[in-house]
Point group: C2
Chain length 81, copies 2
Amino acid sequence: MKATILIRPKSGILDPQGLAVETGLGHLGFNVQNAHVGRLVELDVSANDEADARAQIERMCEQLLANPLIESYEIVVEAAA
Amino acid sequence: MKATILIRPKSGILDPQGLAVETGLGHLGFNVQNAHVGRLVELDVSANDEADARAQIERMCEQLLANPLIESYEIVVEAAA
């Protein structure tokens, strides 16, 4: 089952990559605000159904993929082709 | 105008972060394949309409956000609230 995990810095947490992107784009002449940089993880997981896949991925996020202290995550599970 | 940019390693390009995630999750007992790690950029851009926003963000990707040699990007523009 194909899944996409979007990992974002929690609001209020310092996001130096986001600041660098915002500053860099400003120097290039673009007018942008509120830039934030996170991570995108895509993977295929063996699961019985969508609920199982989602539960497994939540455990993956807590154990390895994200730092729950400073990052939030959003899980999108796509039905198997 | 709020926009999300998904930046992924192109297929066929070595993705060491993806391999590390796949190996790490395997060691934790998860059964996953085809793990890939990319970047997620979210920002607000000043634009007249969606087409303008998309054109600006394509230029941002080419100039700063992505490395077009090894990364592909997907732009999602949300209508302003």
